[in-house]
């Protein structure tokens, strides 16, 4: 078979195969044809919508997105948090600074304490 004959045979094969497939496509069963018609109707309905209609479709989505963003912003609002440094009252610093009082209380020098109490009584009685 020369090149021309081969080309012709190819073309004839393609023509017959194409015709067979086209015939078959036209013989689709009713259920499939119905589904295709429904799909087409949905597509045409989509094409009938005005070009700006997608904005309307986007409106609920936009509202939801805005709500989510607002919620996130509210949750991120800075709170008055009590840090350890702020919780430390001035008197706590005094206690820390007055280390001598602590040492005195630990020494348990009862003799000194009795003397100090007696002196205080004398002061108040004699004064």
């Amino acid at each position: 078979m020369n090149l021309d004959e081969e080309d012709r045979a190819h073309a004839e094969f393609a023509r017959r195969a194409g015709a067979l497939l086209r015939e078959d496509a036209e013989r689709l069963d009713g259920a499939t044809r119905l589904k295709l018609a429904r799909a087409r109707a949905a597509a045409v309905e989509e094409a009938r919508r005005p070009a700006w209609s997608w904005l309307l479709c986007m409106a609920p989505a936009g509202a939801v997105a805005a709500s989510v963003i607002a919620l996130l912003l509210l949750m991120r609002e800075p709170r008055l948090e009590v840090t350890p440094f702020q919780a430390t009252a001035p008197q706590d610093f005094e206690l820390l600074a007055d280390g001598e009082a602590w040492e005195l209380s630990q020494e348990e020098d009862f003799g000194f304490l009795e003397w100090a109490a007696a002196m205080a009584e004398l002061d108040s009685g004699g004064g």
């Binding site: 190819h10 094969f13 497939l21 086209r22 499939t32 295709l36 018609a37 087409r40 597509a43 989509e46």
Partner: protein, 185 residues
């Protein structure tokens, strides 16, 4: 097929009505499944309507087939991944309905003359052979022979050059003739 001159929903309806059955056949041959084929055609129709309904109707055939071929390729890829994954799962082997059986998939030959039964068998063999072709070759063959697009429109639909379409088409015909030589004299 004649393409309407002016873009309108009615023109789109006529265009889709003209191509839908062949589009379904193409998708079904490629995917080997009716439901998947219907999904692919439906998606392609919706996508064309949403994005290109106002474009020049002369562009619709190439655009529609490009969308359809992309959708078919995506679905085929997803199914291949799913099949590979399922093959690894020991307790779930591939469901029987996912396997393409060319004879079972073939349309029921209409009862009656032997010629119609022969045609059914021929069609089944042709579909099985087409299903076996590499995707690009199958697309080129179906767009040219079934849909009747010229080389330029086929190239636009496939997103390749004219030369590439010619090569794919030639190889497809060669492979089909080799495979179907006996059944398709």
């Amino acid at each position: 097929m004649p393409v309407p001159a002016e873009a309108s929903p009615d023109a789109l309806d006529r265009f889709l009505a003209g191509v839908e059955r062949r589009a379904f056949r193409m998708a079904r041959i490629a995917l080997g499944d009716e439901e998947d084929a219907l999904d692919a055609v439906q998606d392609a129709m919706l996508s064309l309507a949403r994005r290109y309904a106002r474009r020049d109707p002369a562009e619709w055939p190439a655009l529609f087939h490009r969308i359809l071929q992309n959708r078919v390729r995506d679905m085929a890829r997803r199914r291949a991944v799913r099949r590979r994954f399922m093959a690894l799962v020991p307790w779930r082997r591939e469901a029987p309905d996912e396997v393409l059986d060319p004879v079972a998939e073939a349309p029921d030959p209409a009862p009656g003359p032997d010629a119609q039964a022969d045609q059914g068998a021929l069609l089944a063999a042709l579909e099985a052979a087409l299903h076996e072709l590499p995707a690009r070759q199958r697309e080129a063959f179906l767009l040219r022979s079934l849909e009747g697009l010229d080389v330029a429109a086929t190239a636009a639909a496939m997103g390749v050059s004219d030369g590439s379409v010619k090569t794919h088409y030639f190889r497809a015909v060669q492979a089909l003739r080799t495979r179907l030589g006996e059944e398709f004299p």
